[in-house]
Symmetry: C2
Subunit: 433 residues, 2 copies
């Protein structure tokens, strides 16, 4: 039996490693188009910033490690160009054909900048691979740019803006939609903007960038451009091979991460998964989901039976030291999904007043019809990750607001106030229901 | 209609304030035996330490505030000595009788040091009231003690030890049981001991203190003694009045916080509540529960219908900057409760390696028969509160390990590793099940 995995970053390597653990005799080949594997892609902005000193610090495992320790053959520079499922073969750019019994597609996402003229100039960068980040850092060191434009106010765009600002550059972020961090929520975007502005970064929403000029973007002068937009699931090769895509363009998967083709699995940023709040497919590419779905795909591809129930869309981004975290849906998003959303937004200290707790903002969203929590956000310098995770756990369990209000959360003055902001928000939301 | 509340700290004032919000015309009287009300009792060790500068910083509301803003009559120095339920009267020490239609008993816990000879010496303190803390702080400033013994390694004992050590005293903690922080778990206690020892505090378990000598306790020389032991629900008066107690000596309550006597409610450290993991009554006196049960008691006593489902026993204690958090049961405790516990304990970084994450220890306990999570603990300098709260939310929802393993938790390098220690622990535990 031969398992072939296309893609050697988070999802692909999770799949390969898990398959090896389940079946010690399986032949496993990982095909990675790039020169390195297994790097912490979410750490790229911090490498640009310099907090992560060297590129190699982001690399978790080498191909040698996999070969030696796991008996997994990892081939770098091996770009798959097509899949012939009837013959059970992956065709490489070199013409070579790699036979499989089981296939895991972990081709990730790509940065589609085809709609932006001038994207190929030397001062224009994406931040998608380790190579991208290395080139950007070298450019900053060598060219000493003074003003940057970041196109896209998603996670990577905002993190890149933070990193560039810390290098002393003037930074403007241009975002096509009306909101930041993919959260259709005016208050949340206002909070993101306020924090960016306090640190000298400008955020302009509602700006579609169609061209990069030599010294300006959309009228903003700059000598460095980062394109953090146009993320699309990288699925052209799979689609050509007959793998079914979903409405977001990601690969459709069942709860075993299997595609419509027998023996062909998909995982990571190229795949759609179930949103547990709606029960419908969604596309939210994140490192956590890539690792989890890779693990499940690898397990099922090697003969085990494991299930990936889905996600609730939890994420956090640090902006100049403040955590901006979201899960589930904002009220606006919830309405678009067919809910009757009710929301409450409160501010409270992260610790008791006498312990100088910094301000935490919590928003909870519930469905009026059922009283169920369907989303939330947390903004704060302390404890934002922990608090959003509690809301995420509530969403996983389809918890109602009045049960959430009674959660037995840990309290001690150095850590939290006796009424945690989460519970105050729930009390407030209960009144609105 | 008259509502009388006995006790003016967390539970009592939560009850009074909630009742007022529900019924603006109710006559509400709060009887507090001490000279102040509404202080953050959990902040007392930090007042001793000095991090909380002044006693008044711990006082949230004054009687004047309640009178003026909430039309609640708060009487300090009003010690209730008996309850005559047939006459619906509370009798004060002064002989005065206060009539009620509804009664909330929030008499808290007391520090029973009757079994310790010499507890009344001037260098021996408890840390139960604001007055206790003020006397202790004054003693430290005036007498400059050099060696302290703390009796009891519960929350307050350990926090007191931390506070005294920061004043430069040598500190030994003597604990009667074999474990610290009420957690029957050898690994957890070993971790507590290690952190204490790293900061120069000695922990001796298995030592029952029956007497305090002039210059030593159980052979340990000292010139200051803090008794942080013998916490008992303060229920003698209620029991005399015919209020039924539970097996832990706390007042029995239903899920509306009502006692066996009609119109008589109990809340806070004097009451037993349901443990949601077992479904049986328990006694775990904590500030969070006091506030929540007070709120529900006040609501029901004023004509609303609210429910307090119960607790899962979540707590956190900071020891020299490290959070020690627990919820549900340890494996040993779970076995005593009739479960077939399986446990997994892992160490992982709180953030990615390339972000210098400090070590976090997570233990999860599940029931072999059902696969349900029934307890957990988290130890770490960062994120311990957030992580224990996720486990607490799982316990509230009777979550199984294999669902917990798939939780969609927030990830970003400044906040957490891509595989959160919680998920790694769940993966480990799944193997053991």
């Amino acid at each position: 039996m031969a398992l072939v995995v296309i893609g050697g970053v988070a999802a692909g390597l999770s799949a390969a490693a898990r398959a090896r653990r389940i079946d010690p005799r399986l032949e496993i080949v990982v095909l990675e188009k790039g020169p390195v594997i297994s790097y912490g892609a979410c750490g790229l902005p911090y490498f640009v910033e310099g907090r992560v000193r060297e590129a190699k610090d982001l690399v978790v495992y080498t191909p040698e490690y996999f070969r030696r320790e796991r008996k997994i053959e990892v081939r770098t520079g091996a770009r798959a160009v097509s899949i012939s499922h009837p013959r059970r073969e992956v065709v490489l750019e070199s013409g070579e054909r790699v036979r499989y019994d089981r296939l895991v597609i972990a081709t990730g996402a790509r940065c589609d900048t085809s709609g932006i003229a001038g994207a190929d100039q030397p001062h224009v960068f994406t931040l998608h691979t380790l190579g991208d980040a290395e080139r950007l850092r070298r450019f900053i060191a060598e060219k000493q740019p003074r003003r940057a434009v970041v196109v896209g106010a998603g996670y990577i765009g905002v993190e890149a803006a933070d990193a560039l600002r810390r290098h002393g550059l003037g930074v403007t972020v241009l975002e096509r939609s009306a909101h930041a961090l993919l959260r259709d929520d005016a208050d949340f975007t206002a909070a993101v903007r306020k924090t960016l502005e306090q640190h000298g970064v400008e955020l302009r929403c509602g700006v579609e960038v169609t061209a990069v000029e030599a010294e300006r973007v959309a009228g903003v002068p700059c000598d460095l451009v980062v394109l953090a937009c146009g993320f699309r699931p990288n699925t052209a090769m799979a689609a050509e091979a007959g793998v079914e895509l979903g409405r977001f363009g990601g690969i459709r998967t069942d709860d075993r991460m299997q595609t419509n083709l027998t023996g062909v699995y998909a995982a990571g940023d190229c795949a759609e998964v179930t949103h547990l709040v709606t029960g419908r497919p969604t596309y939210i590419p994140l490192g956590t989901t890539a690792n989890k779905t890779g693990r499940v795909a690898g397990a099922n591809a090697s003969g085990a039976r494991e299930r990936f129930p889905g996600i609730v869309g939890t994420s956090i981004v640090g902006i100049f030291g403040t955590g901006f975290a979201t899960t589930g849906f904002s009220a606006v998003q919830a309405k678009a999904e067919g809910f009757s959303p009710v929301r409450a937004r409160i501010e409270g200290p992260a610790r008791p007043r006498y312990f100088q707790g910094t301000k935490t903002v919590v928003e909870l969203v519930a469905d009026r019809a059922t009283g169920r929590l369907i989303g939330g956000s947390v903004i704060g310098e302390e404890g934002a990750a922990g608090r959003i995770n509690v809301i995420a756990a509530a969403l996983h369990n389809r918890m109602r607001v009045d049960d959430f209000e009674q959660l037995d959360l840990a309290y001690s003055p150095p850590f939290s106030p006796v009424w945690d902001p989460l519970l105050i928000a729930a009390q407030q939301l209960k009144k609105e229901l």
